[in-house]
């Protein structure tokens, strides 16, 4: 029997000016499917054979979907210096907060999360190569409630 469920761990990604993000270390299958769904758009192609609907990647939606998939919390404050609450907020609130921050800040968030995702993919690929039998149960849990 092999372990196929990871404990939901988080990572802190440091940004400029002392700011930070708290992100999911990895996505579950369901979270990955939601990322794919949010990254694509239906396209209807009409030909002699009739109309056919296919799915294609929407690059702009995909960039936001990646951020939304991983982001759990941050240290960002509003113009009055109050922390912008996104932890435990509905996706619409997080999306609105992401739309409200400066363009440079959004780019920094996106870059940090893309780098995190790439680093985790590399780490997981390496883990697969070096795995000997079933992994031992993970007794640690970093929680963001």
């Amino acid at each position: 029997m092999s372990i196929r469920v990871r404990r939901p761990a988080t990572d802190r990604l440091d940004l400029s000016d002392g700011d930070y993000l708290v992100v999911k270390r990895d996505l579950t299958a369901g979270e990955f499917r939601e990322l794919m769904r949010a990254s694509s758009k239906p396209v209807t192609v009409t030909s002699a054979a009739g109309a056919q609907t296919t799915i294609e990647l929407d690059p702009i939606a995909a960039s936001v979907a990646m951020v939304m998939a991983y982001l759990l919390d941050w240290s960002f404050a509003d113009a009055d210096g109050r922390k912008i609450a996104i932890a435990d907020q509905p996706p619409a609130v997080v999306r609105s907060a992401l739309d409200t921050i400066d363009g440079d800040a959004y780019t920094e968030v996106q870059t940090a999360i893309n780098a995190h995702q790439a680093a985790r993919k590399a780490a997981l690929d390496e883990e697969k190569k070096t795995r000997r039998g079933a992994p031992a149960p993970d007794r640690t849990l970093t929680s963001v409630g």
């Binding site: 761990a9 759990l72 932890a87 435990d88 849990l141 929680s143 409630g145």
Partner: protein
Amino acid sequence: MLDEPRTVFRGLGAAAGFVKHAYRLAATVVDYTIVVDPPTRRLTLGGTVATSDPFLLTQTPLVFVVPTQAGRLRWPIESVQVANGRVVAALGPLLVER
């Protein structure tokens, strides 16, 4: 009279609390109360389940989280039962996260 269970926290209407396995949402709870039993000082959560994930509710550890303006209130969940749209959970001591 002093030994009777009393409400220590109440969430009304749409003000939701969340049962979580780390950051994963196991259940959304509305119209909830947390009562303390003075002799034992044990805390019990009771409320209406708005959304739930039956698998995540079987995972441990679980916490009950209430976002507030001052930060997040978190209680570790020692045991939980969900039936007929209601949740009842035994809670550990309150933790406040700012």
